[in-house]
């Protein structure tokens, strides 16, 4: 698998895929996409990087343990639901903040935060499974 071509291309491919995954994640509310798909794309990006350049460099690159990323995603998802308590509304009632940013309408919302949580959960969980499987000489 570690051919020179693959190893040269893999980092660029990974970077592109991660970028694309974020794009898919953010446009999810209006176009095909969303946290789950985005997360899967990013996870496969990590898997490719791992196959090409070794798991150690992936772990270095993402700094956090993928399982912590996953757990943080779950925390973020739950947190997004709690925000509505401050307005005395039921758990996970969506909150929207729409404002004008240099003529562009920006919409920040708890469903988006929640979707980012989903994204992180999927990246973390699938990524850590893939990386652990690629790491053949653990122990």
């Amino acid at each position: 698998m570690r051919t020179i071509i693959f190893r040269t291309i893999a980092p660029f491919l990974t970077a592109l895929m991660v970028l694309f995954s974020v794009f898919v994640l953010l446009r999810g509310h209006n176009e095909p996409g969303g946290g789950f798909i985005g997360g899967l794309i990013a996870a496969s990006a990590l898997a490719i990087f791992g196959i090409a350049c070794g798991v150690a460099s992936v772990r270095r690159a993402i700094y956090f343990h993928p399982m912590s990323v996953s757990a943080f995603g779950l925390f973020l998802g739950a947190l997004a639901g709690v925000l509505s308590f401050f307005k005395g509304q039921a758990f996970m009632t969506s909150q929207w903040l729409i404002f004008d940013f240099f003529g562009v309408e920006i919409a920040l919302s708890t469903p988006m935060v929640f979707d980012i949580g989903v994204y992180l959960v999927v990246v973390g969980a699938i990524g850590s499974i893939a990386l652990a499987l690629e790491e053949r000489e653990i122990d």
């Binding site: 898919v24 999810g28 509310h29 209006n30 176009e31 095909p32 996409g33 969303g34 946290g35 789950f36 798909i37 899967l40 794309i41 996870a43 496969s44 898997a47 399982m67 996953s70 757990a71 995603g73 779950l74 998802g77 739950a78 639901g81 758990f91 996970m92 969506s94 929207w96 729409i98 919409a107 919302s109 469903p111 988006m112 929640f114 979707d115 949580g117 989903v118 959960v121 999927v122 973390g124 969980a125 699938i126 850590s128 499974i129 893939a130 652990a132 499987l133 690629e134 053949r136 653990i138 122990d139």
Partner: protein, 794 residues
């Protein structure tokens, strides 16, 4: 009298220790052990708050305060302040103040001292919530919280196996009893429709009239007897002595173990004064009293001696409560007060001796009176009270309780004899604890003994002196503490006139003299008595403590056998079972409801649609004819991609997108798994086995197809899709309906799902980390992995 409603300060008083538990670790980091001083202010303030209730309560007033907690279930956070709960609250906060100080000195320099303070405060809050609890459900919650905090405190020294075992044992016994209590409360709530204790107490016959008295009675006893360590559940309490001494002094003598007695006293107006009550309680209480004292004599460890006498005292309290005879109940209340004071003090003294001399084995101690004079003085005061000698509160308590047992028209004589025997033996222990370490020739101890610091001395001295002061103010004690508490037990207002010195030469006094005489005789024969009991116990050779181990081992073994039956660890078996049942689940309903769905008309497919179908079928054929497993996996991917294309063409881009990614990733991950497992490259199943799996696979496929056909032939209910289509833009500001459903409309489902994903990730990670045996090719190495995991777990 209906209780008056008060403001929320009392509710805050219950919650204050929880707040203190949060700040305790930080304070301890800054001030080291001196954090005990500011922290002790919390229980001291609570104590002050409750002293404010003494006056009104002694005039027969009661108070309630409540905040809604889960109002839809009738669960409120509510308190009920009357004589009994005031007495308990004062004991908890007052002794709690001293214990916090004592813990400051006892665990000085311990790395986890902050955590220890934290646990103590958590317990304190739970205990306050318990004794003040008015709402049955919140009372139960605090009841279980005391079990949990007790678990944390007993297991504080978590590196020792003995403390872990003791902690678990205490949790299982008291927590199990707590579940019985929950059942009792639910029965009470459903039978009477009332959930507040104050309301129930307002009509005392309400439970007796329901016809559910017997089950409620048994379940309440299940909770009370386990918590208050009544025979045969007494074994957890001596084992709990593994905890640091402040815990033993606080939880396992003065407060938590009295929760069971509290419950019995609290429920006395509701459940008491029946034949069942006056038979069962004195019987168990009396047996516990005798067993406790006899086992106490057997011990040489100061803490264990005290622990067994605590068991005995709890037995005495249950016995007295069980008589439902007013004078005996008065004795119970007095003895409860006296016991908390002297036993808490004696435990702290035992801890101080251990701390300063390095051992608490009574046979290795002696002559400490010159080295530790203040401790010795406090020990003497507390021990005199425990022995029931004048002029201490213990003496008054014993007089009153003898008066009660002697006059009880039930089995008065038997109960009196048991009480005399028990008290005589308690005197023996009191003398052994207070005199043996201090008198006699000086014995070399592991540490050079000297007087403890003020943090260690303050507690025992204050408690012992309180025992003295309360006795000298006997009249006031009776009026302010005993009378109001007794009123709670009997359900009608009582005023008690106590005096320190007996007014006449009557039966109780004679019984006291007999007790003291018997005690002194036995004390002179202590060593002989100890070896005698030891040999008798050795002859029996079995006790509830061993029984507990046997029960736990039995349960673990039983569940192990069940697990091995259900979880064979063989992947092939799992898959077969899953798919056979899937086939049954999809085929059986169709068969039972009769008839196959109609064959749909074949629509006109375009050529590229045919092409995709062809690719899917080709993929399936490739799976079947593939020589190696790896090829088969990749071929399965072909079919998956074809399906993704179909989704794409029929207007489900999201689904198709996801399907593509899932297919890619599952092929990658499966391929990685294949390279990791030492599998044979190809499938070597016998032909019959292959045919069998083929049949199962076809059955599932057929079933799913038929189900799908049947579903699509039903009229389509468009309410949900209409709703989503109509509102996804206007309410949820999103044009992608699928995404809006996932993150907004059904967001709570997704939250659950991502939690599952995280957990699944963790599980898979754990499975991968399992070390597989090297250089071994097996047909199905998942089996191997699971077996390795099981053997490592063993």
């Amino acid at each position: 009298m209906t209780p008056a409603v008060i403001d929320d300060t009392t509710l805050l008083a219950v919650l204050a220790p929880f707040a203190a538990a949060v700040v305790a670790p930080a304070l301890t980091r800054w001030f080291k052990h001196n954090a005990a001083w500011p922290l002790a202010l919390v229980p001291a303030l609570i104590f002050l708050h409750f002293t404010g209730f003494i006056g009104p309560v002694s005039e027969g007033e009661t108070f309630v305060a409540a905040k809604a907690w889960a109002p839809s279930y009738g669960v409120n956070f509510s308190v009920y302040v009357d004589g009994l709960s005031t007495l308990f609250a004062l004991l908890i906060s007052g002794i709690g103040t001293l214990i916090i100080l004592y813990a400051g000195g006892y665990l000085k320099g311990h790395v986890q001292q902050g955590r220890f303070f934290s646990f103590l405060f958590l317990f304190m809050g739970s205990m306050l919530g318990l004794v003040l609890g008015n709402n049955l459900i919140s009372l139960f919650i605090f009841w279980e919280l005391t079990s949990i905090t007790s678990f944390l405190l007993i297991g504080f020294d978590n590196l020792r196996a003995a403390s872990r075992r003791a902690a678990l044992q205490a949790l299982l016994v008291t927590g199990g009893g707590g579940l019985a209590l929950l059942a009792a409360f639910i029965l009470i709530i459903s039978a009477t429709g009332e959930i507040e204790m104050s309301v129930l107490l307002g009509s005392p016959d309400i439970i007796k009239d329901t016809g559910l008295y017997l089950p409620i009675f048994i379940l309440v006893l299940g909770g009370a007897f386990t918590k208050s360590a009544q025979f045969p559940f007494h074994f957890w309490l001596p084992n709990a002595m593994e905890a640091p001494t402040p815990v033993s002094a606080y939880l396992h003598s003065a407060t938590m173990v009295k929760a069971g007695v509290y419950l019995l006293m609290r429920m006395h107006p509701l459940l008491g004064d029946t034949v069942l009550w006056t038979t069962v309680l004195p019987l168990f209480g009396g047996v516990t009293l005798l067993v406790g004292t006899v086992l106490a004599v057997r011990q040489t460890d100061l803490k264990l001696m005290l622990a067994y006498t605590t068991v005995a005292s709890l037995g005495l309290l249950v016995m007295l409560t069980g008589t439902s005879y007013e004078k005996a109940l008065e004795g119970a209340v007095l003895y409860l007060l006296a016991h908390s004071l002297f036993k808490g003090g004696l435990f702290m003294i035992a801890g101080t001796i251990d701390h300063e001399a390095g051992t608490r084995d009574v046979t290795k101690l002696g002559g400490l009176r010159t080295a530790m004079p203040i401790t010795f003085a406090a020990a003497c005061l507390a021990a005199l009270s425990m022995s029931g000698l004048p002029p201490f509160i213990g003496f008054i308590a014993k007089e009153v309780l003898y008066y009660g047992t002697w006059g009880w028209p039930g089995a008065g004589l038997a109960v009196t004899l048991v009480a005399v025997a028990g008290n005589a033996l308690m005197l023996v222990i009191a003398a052994a604890v207070a005199l043996k370490p201090f008198l006699g020739p000086k014995v070399e101890t592991p540490k050079h003994a000297h007087e403890g610091p003020v943090l260690l001395i303050a507690g025992p001295v204050v408690l012992s002196l309180t025992g003295l002061v309360l006795a000298f103010m006997a009249h006031t004690t009776g009026l302010l503490f005993v009378g109001p508490a007794l009123s709670s037990l009997t359900g009608e207002f009582k005023q008690i006139d106590l005096h320190l010195w007996p007014t006449s030469f009557n039966a109780p006094l004679i019984l006291s003299i007999i007790t003291v005489g018997l005690g002194i005789v036995l004390y002179t024969q202590l060593d002989r008595l100890r070896s005698l009991i030891a040999s008798v116990l050795a002859a029996i050779g079995w006790g509830p403590d061993k029984g507990f181990d046997q029960v736990v081992r039995g349960i673990v073994g039983f569940s192990g056998r069940i697990t091995r039956l259900v979880q064979t660890g063989n992947m092939q078996t799992y898959m077969t079972v899953i798919f056979v049942f899937t086939a049954i689940a999809v085929l059986l309903p169709g068969y039972l409801t009769g008839g196959l769905p109609e064959m749909p008309e074949m629509p006109e497919y375009r050529f590229y649609e045919w092409g995709i179908l062809f690719i899917a079928v080709l993929g399936l054929i490739a799976v079947l004819v593939a020589k190696t497993r790896l090829t088969a996996i990749v071929s399965l991917g072909i079919q998956g991609f074809a399906v993704a294309l179909i989704f794409m063409m029929f207007g489900a881009p999201d689904l198709s997108f996801t399907q593509f990614m899932v297919e890619t990733l599952s092929v990658v991950i499966l391929a990685l798994v294949m390279t990791r497992l030492n599998l044979m490259p190809s499938d070597h199943r016998s032909t019959p086995a292959a045919i069998l799996t083929g049949i199962i696979a076809c059955a599932v496929g057929l079933g799913l197809t038929l189900t799908l056909l049947a579903i699509t032939q039903q009229p389509f209910d468009t309410r949900l899709s209409d709703f989503f289509a109509q509102f996804s833009r206007s309410i949820a500001h999103g044009r992608n309906i699928v995404n809006v459903i996932i993150v907004d409309f059904r967001g709570f489902d997704t939250l659950g799902e991502i939690a599952v994903v995280v957990l699944a990730g963790l599980c898979v990670l754990a499975l991968i980390r399992v070390r597989t045996k090297p250089d071994k090719t097996v047909e199905d190495s998942t089996t191997d992995a699971v077996q390795t995991q099981a053997s490592e777990a063993r």
